[in-house]
């Protein structure tokens, strides 16, 4: 090993975790791709390889060569059929990151397994065979990925070796996929041509596809930024367990579902609506100054109030919805079809209550995305439903908050997980009047608005795209109004806070990615190894200045690369930017100075 083992372990400890999903059919070479990632990241131990070679001769489906797929197919029955039938989790690491892969099957009857794998994934790889292009199954997988709110998707066009690595084939597939995916909300999309079998563009850039200018797969996996996908805004703390070791200590244990909490924060308890303040955030390693998702902690409060499992602590100025009725997208997971009027158990965060499915608004055909009338849902079917619970739930729409927007429904007789659901961002018109005491004013107003059909919205979106056109830069329409996007009037309406934060998040991600690229020229880990304050200064400068103007500060950049922060501070102070930057410049300079010995 090139580095000292202690150094290796210290670096390893700091790596973050990316959970990813692979979707594709048996024949798309999915298992081969995963096998290749595991193999090439050198985490396959020698004897696992030895066992693999032995097995390949017996049941392998690729004559002679190593069958990477055999690494993954765990259960005997599946091996005999030569296909994967359940969700399998695989682990690998590179020098930058740790990865958990949920490997899920591609067959239609196994939608439920893919939904399972997608529920915890940050990123999805959708595999298509270059010879077949986008097929029904690709659409189905992508729909499920968007339904489960995965924000990063990579379309991996596999088996490029079998189409002579032709760029036109790749481009056609990307084009077709793009036109399909505009209907689904996926904020971050990548396209890669590859050959899992030959290793093209998996870990190394392909020699055979010089026309491809993007990154190989592993590089994207290593660098995609996922922390900001978590919700750090709306504090939600479902109480999981009450710790009472003695009369003096009363802690409410749980996992932060979203938002950030600090000692001294005002909190409100749902459903009792009692108020208190956070006294301490305790862990066995000492008290914390703040806690955020997904940390598991315990909170102590200033006042003695009665709180038990299933209650939720929130900030009083940022409340979830409280209701006994809501709409959700439901995926049926049980062999036994849905029977209306069954009193299911519904588990949502740490709360379990009885629930019934009142109405199926429609069933979505996962191949065509068309909506059909339905009176029941069967295994692997997805539909929009109205649910009523016997106790109120405290929830947010799934797209804003995966933890407080998701639930499972349990069959009361078999105890099987019969269905899983994602709550939709619209209050149901069927809300019970007795929920009013729990409902704040804004929500009540929403209640009164008549529910609009989702199909209609989709059609109108297409219609408006055609009528207004898509403008990515502000421009004046025929009426002289400044507009952007699809007919958004900038002067009158501007953008909302949510929209602004969405843009900000994108811009920060872009700045960060650019800085990493810039510094990687010297050393691939350099940026990550800088002190956090230096990273913060650089990101804000890059954000503010843009790519070119930032690069003009070459002397400062070089000083940072040399980790000479004293020089970097001086260069920063002398730059023409600093002269104009005013208060912001002085603040950033102060942050930079924190890293200069003797200044602190």
């Amino acid at each position: 090993m090139d580095i000292d083992i202690n150094e290796f372990l210290n670096r390893d400890e700091q790596k973050d975790l990316l959970r990813l999903l692979t979707a594709g059919s048996v024949d798309d070479g999915k298992s081969t791709l995963i096998g290749r990632l595991l193999y090439d990241s050198k985490l396959l131990y020698e004897d696992q390889l030895a066992a693999l070679k032995r097995d390949s001769r017996r049941v392998g489906s690729v004559g002679g060569e190593i069958d990477y797929a055999l690494l993954l197919d765990g259960l005997q029955a599946e091996r005999e059929q030569g296909i994967t039938i359940d969700v399998a989790y695989r682990y690998f690491a590179t020098s930058k990151r740790k990865f958990i892969i949920a490997d899920t099957p591609g067959h239609e009857q196994y939608t439920r397994n893919m939904v399972t794998g997608a529920s915890t994934a940050n990123l999805a790889i959708v595999l298509v065979d270059a010879r077949n292009g986008v097929i029904d199954q690709t659409r189905r997988h992508t729909f499920i990925i968007s339904l489960l709110g995965i924000k990063h998707v990579i379309l991996a066009v596999n088996k490029m070796d079998l189409v002579d690595y032709r760029e036109s084939i790749f481009n056609n597939i990307c084009h077709e996929y793009r036109s399909f995916i505009t209907r689904l909300k996926i904020p971050d999309l990548h396209f890669i041509p590859l050959s899992a079998l030959k290793g093209d563009n998996v870990v190394e850039k392909s020699e055979s596809m010089q026309w491809y200018t993007g990154q190989p797969l592993l590089e994207i996996l290593e660098n995609v930024y996922v922390t900001s996908d978590r919700n750090f805004i709306d504090f939600r703390y479902p109480v999981q367990y009450v710790l009472r070791p003695d009369a003096d200590f009363r802690g409410f244990a749980g996992t932060i579902a979203s938002g950030v909490v600090r000692p001294g924060d005002d909190i409100l308890v749902l459903p009792s609506r009692k108020k208190s303040k956070v006294k301490n955030i305790t862990t066995s390693d000492g008290n914390l100054k703040e806690a955020f998702p997904p940390l598991s902690v315990a909170l102590t409060l200033e006042d003695e109030i009665d709180i038990s499992r299933g209650d939720m602590l929130v900030h009083p100025d940022n409340m979830p919805r409280t209701a006994r009725s809501f709409e959700a997208m439901l995926v049926w997971m049980d062999e036994k079809p849905m029977a209306k009027n069954t009193a299911f158990f519904l588990k949502h965060t740490t709360r379990t209550t009885r629930a019934s499915i009142d109405q199926i608004r429609y069933r979505t055909d996962v191949n065509s995305l068309r909506k059909h009338e339905a009176s029941s849902l069967a295994l692997n079917e997805i539909g929009r439903v109205t649910i009523t619970t016997s106790q109120p739930l405290f929830f947010d729409p799934y797209m804003k908050n995966h933890t407080t927007g998701s639930f499972i429904m349990i069959d009361p007789i078999t105890n099987f997980t019969a269905a899983v659901g994602m709550i939709i961002d619209r209050p149901s018109i069927n809300d019970q009047p007795n929920d009013e005491i729990f409902t704040d004013r804004a929500t009540k107003k929403e209640h009164q608005e008549h529910a609009q059909d989702a199909t209609l919205k989709n059609i109108v979106a297409q219609q408006l795209l055609a009528h207004e056109g898509l403008k990515l830069k502000p421009c004046r329409g025929e009426d002289g109004k400044l507009t952007i996007g699809v007919g958004r009037r900038l002067e009158e309406r501007g953008i909302s806070e949510d929209e602004a934060l969405f843009l900000l998040n994108n811009d920060i991600s872009a700045s960060l990615a650019d800085l990493k690229k810039l510094f990687a020229a010297t050393d691939s880990d350099l940026f990550a190894s800088l002190p956090e304050t230096v990273q913060r200064v650089l990101i804000e400068m890059r954000f503010f200045l843009g790519s070119d103007a930032f690069r003009n500060h070459s002397r400062m950049i070089r000083a940072v690369q040399d980790k000479d922060f004293a020089l970097a501070t001086r260069e920063m102070e002398q730059s023409s930017w600093f002269a104009k930057a005013g208060e912001r410049g002085r603040k950033l300079l102060a942050l930079m100075k924190e890293n200069v010995r003797g200044e602190r």
């Binding site: 083992i5 202690n6 372990l9 400890e13 700091q14 790596k15 973050d16 975790l17 131990y45 020698e46 004897d47 696992q48 993954l72 197919d73 765990g74 259960l75 039938i85 969700v87 399998a88 989790y89 695989r90 682990y91 690491a93 990151r97 439920r112 397994n113 939904v115 399972t116 529920s119 915890t120 922390t227 750090f232 999981q240 367990y241 710790l243 070791p245 003695d246 200590f249 244990a253 996992t255 305790t282 862990t283 066995s284 998702p293 997904p294 598991s296 499992r309 997971m333 588990k347 949502h348 965060t349 740490t350 998701s406 499972i408 349990i410 105890n415 997980t417 899983v420 990550a528 990273q535």
Partner: protein, 303 residues
């Protein structure tokens, strides 16, 4: 770390495991933590201590004693539980013990079935536990890669790999009927390296057998077996040699092979692991009985 709210993988895994352990304590009437005295169990116990700090564990540990464990394991177990004020239950198969079942006389298959699998099942039945924590990890072995974190067992303690409950997000279905149970694997998502890393960072005490020392071993079918007591047949003991060895896993001493090594610290063990690369279960003799043997055992109720 780019973002003040970015967590290291180890912090994220720790949070996930603690949440799982608390969920079991909250939802089950009579849970137990299976304690094998090995490194994964040691991590599991530390996580449980963290989950309920400053209080004590709200459930006991259960050790299934096959009566053929390394002697150092037993003394470590007793000292550890006493020092940490942990309630320890020890259960073994009395009938099998009376019949003198053991790996030397009956072979690994019979011994494992009677003294481990059957002992485990009768132990769980005896106390009527409705949930049992185990320290299995999905990266250990192929059939484990597909097992749920909350893994349902029927009245006969059997696992049905084809009919597992879907498990989504971090919402766990804990509902069972009387007599049924759930096996819970809080460190499912940890890798072997994560476990070593955690042992190192948290300074968790381990059975000394994990660290290299000069020990008396005999070679049997390519495995280095420790001469741990007089029950090893004399003709084997005569072949004993002293070697620098350590153990990658701990179980019944006649069924657990040592590896030659000089690694006497966690750092050195990891270094060996990364460079020499031999998957850890290969030193457990039971996995090689037949292809898919672990899956077979799991269906029958073995962990």
């Amino acid at each position: 770390m780019q973002n003040r709210y970015a967590l290291s993988h180890l912090a994220e895994l720790e949070a996930e495991s603690i949440a799982i352990i608390r969920e079991v304590a909250a939802e089950f009437a009579n849970p137990v933590m299976l304690y094998s005295i090995g490194k994964d169990s040691s991590v599991l116990v530390r996580l449980a201590q963290k989950a309920f700090a400053p209080g004590k564990l709200p459930f006991p540990l259960l050790h299934i004693d096959s009566k053929w464990k390394f002697r150092e394991m037993i003394s470590f177990r007793d000292t550890f539980c006493r020092e940490h004020g942990i309630e320890l239950l020890v259960h073994f198969n009395q009938e099998g013990y009376n019949q003198g079942i053991g790996p030397f006389s009956h072979g690994s298959k019979v011994h494992t079935d009677v003294m481990k699998t059957q002992a485990l099942l009768s132990g769980l039945d005896k106390y009527g536990f409705d949930a049992a924590f185990g320290g299995a990890r999905r990266d250990e072995e192929k059939s484990r890669a597909k097992e749920r974190i909350f893994s349902f067992r029927d009245r006969m303690h059997q696992w049905d790999p084809k009919n597992q409950r879907p498990e989504l997000w971090s919402i766990y279905n804990t509902r069972i009927n009387p007599g049924e149970s759930i096996r819970v694997f809080p460190i499912s998502n940890w890798t072997e390296l994560d476990v070593w890393q955690y042992l190192r960072v948290e300074k968790i005490p381990l059975v000394p057998l994990y660290f290299a020392a000069e020990r008396e071993v005999v070679e049997q079918n390519g495995n280095l077996i420790l001469v741990d007591d007089e029950r090893m047949p004399l003709e084997l003991r005569r072949k004993a040699v002293r070697k620098m060895v350590r153990f990658r896993t701990l179980g019944c001493y006649p069924l657990t092979g040592a590896v030659e090594s000089t690694a006497d610290t966690i750092e050195k063990i990891v270094e060996e692991m990364m460079t020499v690369s031999k998957s850890e279960r290969t030193t457990r003799v039971i996995d090689f009985d037949q292809e898919g043997s672990m899956e077979q055992k799991k269906r029958e109720g073995y962990f």
